[in-house]
């Protein structure tokens, strides 16, 4: 057993000598691969998947390095390192992604081994953030903190991180492979639009098991994940995934990149046949070799440690007084703060979506400030959400006002988590070689139009998601309002969909009508919101009103001028 220094940071998996040695070796391996590419020993075709498996993409203008934030959880120290790298090797900022990672968009190939080396100093890496392998596992940004949590998904996400790392059989899959895991009934990780979506739950005896959905995904052919097994016992967690991946690796299509995801295999084989293949493979694999022993799970759980919570009560007086005295603070609490499983604590979302801002971007200075706040108020731990915001998950309620004051003073107190200004957008044509249209300027224009926090709160829960092309990195299919950039004879147009839902009641949005220009899109969103507000019943969410009244009134209003 390796000695593990007691973590100063709560709730972050602590590396030991073996973990560190592995990451260090991987850095050296990549350094050698870069050298072999530069010497011509590796062709560009051969080098490409190797660099992708180290998170390095070639974009429109430069290399992009995508750094892994395993299941979105990181320490203040790690965030400071990211800030430093942003300043030293990029343009002083980074971009948090919908898969809870961080991207630097202006990286030089020759700097990457040095950057990876610096990351390794804080137990970070860029492994498997790209390429046709199992990618960074994502989960609930409130994992380990949410009051409604049944199973702490971090433990199983970390098990997956380890098990998928340089998997000898599944590193050259037909296509990328994304797994998401949730440990509560609420779905905050878009489980059913992942290649594999897992719900961790407990039976009557309190034992942990998993429900598996397979074959969900967005992109040019969106599919909702299908339930293939309701209960996989904890000890078979790895064996069952091994079975799914083996079926996919053997039978997934390799003749057409657009048909290579597991969703197409599940669709073409049919849910029943696919499930049967997996079950047969699972029956063969199940056994001592792949058994996830309780001791292994306990050991990994131990490595997370736990925040040393104090015994407190909910809604302390000073917190209530601060809310009464300061309506802006009260609004931020109502919108951005979630109940914590421990009384007296709360999980606070730091919105990276200021009105007119670039969704998910943070400057090095902001990262450093947030790292300091994490140290001061959340046990030095923070999370990246799939909505591209940051979360301080364990804040004492009586410290929320101090936290908010510091955030507000630095432009980070935007009260719009889950509201219309909390837009998810892909990098779009500003960065991406695949894009048809820009996403960021449109997100900026929409959030500027709806800048008024009171108006946003009045509108309520309404997710806008923007993708600059059909690959759907901005998840437009599952946006309550989705926007897809299309190219019409060299001009940027946007197609609007409504009624998408990323939660367990997953729905793909319907196209409202013909694509419109960027300016018209902003007006169209406003029109949709007005129709919603004038039709909604008390407490009704946008998607519920839409279901009740149908597309008619929305379509009529949006295209009235055409």
């Amino acid at each position: 057993m390796n000695h593990i220094a007691p973590g100063r940071n709560a709730g972050v998996y602590s590396y030991d000598d073996i973990d560190r040695r592995f990451v260090a070796e991987r850095v050296e391996q990549f350094r050698a691969q870069v050298e072999r590419r530069l010497s011509g020993e590796l062709t560009e075709d051969e080098f490409k998947p190797l660099r992708l498996m180290n998170g390095l993409y070639l974009q429109l203008h430069a290399y992009m390095l995508r750094i892994a934030v395993p299941y979105g959880v990181l320490t203040a120290r790690q965030l400071r390192k990211l800030a430093e790298i942003g300043r030293k090797y990029d343009k002083g900022y980074g971009h948090f992604t919908t898969r809870q990672n961080l991207q630097f968009n202006w990286i030089k190939l020759e700097d990457t081994p040095a950057i990876l080396h610096e990351l390794a100093e804080v137990d970070m890496h860029a492994l498997q953030t790209s390429g046709n392998c199992v990618r960074n596992v994502t989960t609930d940004q409130f994992v380990g903190a949410a009051r409604d949590e049944v199973v702490d998904g971090r433990v199983y996400a970390e098990i997956l991180r380890q098990w998928t790392t340089l998997h000898p059989e599944f590193t050259f899959l037909p296509r990328k492979f994304k797994i998401a895991i949730m440990g509560s009934d609420a779905d905050r990780a878009a489980i059913r639009v992942h290649d594999v979506g897992v719900f961790a739950k407990r039976n009557e005896r309190g034992e942990v098991g998993f429900t598996f959905y397979v074959g969900g995904g967005l992109g040019r052919s969106p599919f909702i994940g299908k339930l293939i097994r309701d209960w996989v016992p904890e000890e078979d967690f790895v064996a069952y995934l091994e079975a799914i991946l083996r079926v996919y690796n053997q039978y997934g299509r390799r003749d057409n990149i657009y048909k290579a995801r597991i969703k197409i295999l599940v669709h073409e084989l049919g849910q029943e046949k696919f499930t049967q293949e997996v079950e047969e493979e699972f029956a063969r694999l199940r056994g001592p070799k792949y058994r996830l022993a309780p001791e292994v799970v306990d050991e990994i759980r131990r490595r997370f440690g736990g925040p040393a919570y104090e015994t407190l009560t909910d809604e302390p007086e000073s917190f209530q007084a601060a809310k009464s005295a300061n309506p802006d603070f009260a609004r931020w609490v109502a919108v951005n703060v979630l109940a914590h499983k421990v009384p007296g604590y709360a999980a606070a979302t730091i919105s990276l979506k200021p009105a007119g801002g670039i969704p998910g971007d943070a400057t090095s200075e902001q990262m450093e400030l947030i790292a300091d706040l994490a140290d001061a108020h959340s046990f030095g731990e923070l999370r990246v959400s799939h909505a591209q915001n940051l979360v301080l998950a364990h804040v004492r309620q009586d410290e929320l006002f101090t936290l908010w004051t510091a955030l507000e003073a630095n432009g980070l107190g935007t009260p719009n988590a889950g509201l219309i200004g909390d837009i998810i957008a892909c990098p779009g044509l500003d960065y991406c070689a695949l894009a048809n249209a820009r996403s960021i300027p449109l997100a900026q224009a929409i959030s500027a139009r709806f800048a008024d926090p009171a108006r946003q709160q009045l509108i309520g829960e309404l997710g806008i998601k923007i993708s600059g092309c059909i690959n759907a990195c901005g998840h437009h299919h599952v946006g309550a309002i989705g926007i897809l950039g299309v190219d019409k004879k060299g001009e940027e147009f946007y197609q609007i969909t409504v009624g998408g839902d990323p939660t367990l009641t997953t729905a793909i949005g319907d196209i409202l009508g013909p694509a419109v220009t960027a300016d018209e899109t902003v007006d169209a969103i406003e029109a949709i919101v007005e129709v919603y507000l004038s039709n909604r019943h008390d407490g009704e969410r946008f998607i519920d009103t839409l279901k009740r009244v149908g597309h008619g009134p929305f379509k009529e209003r949006v295209y009235a001028a055409h």
Binding site: L166, H167, L292, V296
Partner: protein, 165 residues
């Protein structure tokens, strides 16, 4: 093409026989799986070792019934990114208990060598002009693994193990 075994270039005892060419009776020979299927009776009574070369789309269950006839299975990688062969080799070993040589042929690169060994391959055909040092180095550069596999001397737990070189 140079043959890699145990991290270095070795002499190849096997002769690869193209379809339509005569199969030498007195030395180890590899024929295509298609030829084996079409002419299997012609190999009855053969004394020298026989190997079979399978395309990446031919999976383990298809060759399993005849495995006891083959001293070598050569699994084709049409391009190195086509990873089906890793599953095929692993199934040959774990599901069908195959104990003969499993060879990677076609396009594989040193960066895959460790994966090949861990999924049950014993040898690999390297591209012409390959750098032998890169293959040797591939055995030592990573010393930690996180999954059970065939090349697996020191399991620390289900999830962690040290790799020998």
């Amino acid at each position: 093409m140079p043959l890699i075994k145990d991290g270095r270039i070795v002499e190849d005892d096997w002769v690869a026989v193209a379809d339509g060419e005569p199969v030498p009776a007195d030395r180890p020979a590899v024929v295509t799986f298609e030829r084996w299927q079409a002419e299997r009776a012609s190999f009855d009574g053969r004394n020298a070792a026989l190997g079979v070369r399978v395309k990446s789309g031919t999976l383990a269950p298809a060759i399993a019934p005849d495995l006891d006839r083959f001293a070598l299975v050569a699994i084709e990688f049409p391009k190195f990114r086509d990873g089906r062969g890793f599953s095929t080799a692993r199934e040959l070993r774990e599901r069908y208990g195959y104990g003969g040589e499993i060879r990677a042929v076609g396009h594989v690169i040193p960066d895959q060598y460790r994966f090949l060994l861990r999924t049950g391959f014993t040898s690999a055909e390297a591209p012409e002009n390959t750098n032998p040092e890169s293959w040797a180095h591939a055995l030592t550069e990573i010393t930690v693994a996180f999954q059970p596999s065939l090349d697996d001397p020191q399991p620390l737990s289900l999830l962690r193990r040290r790799l020998g070189s």
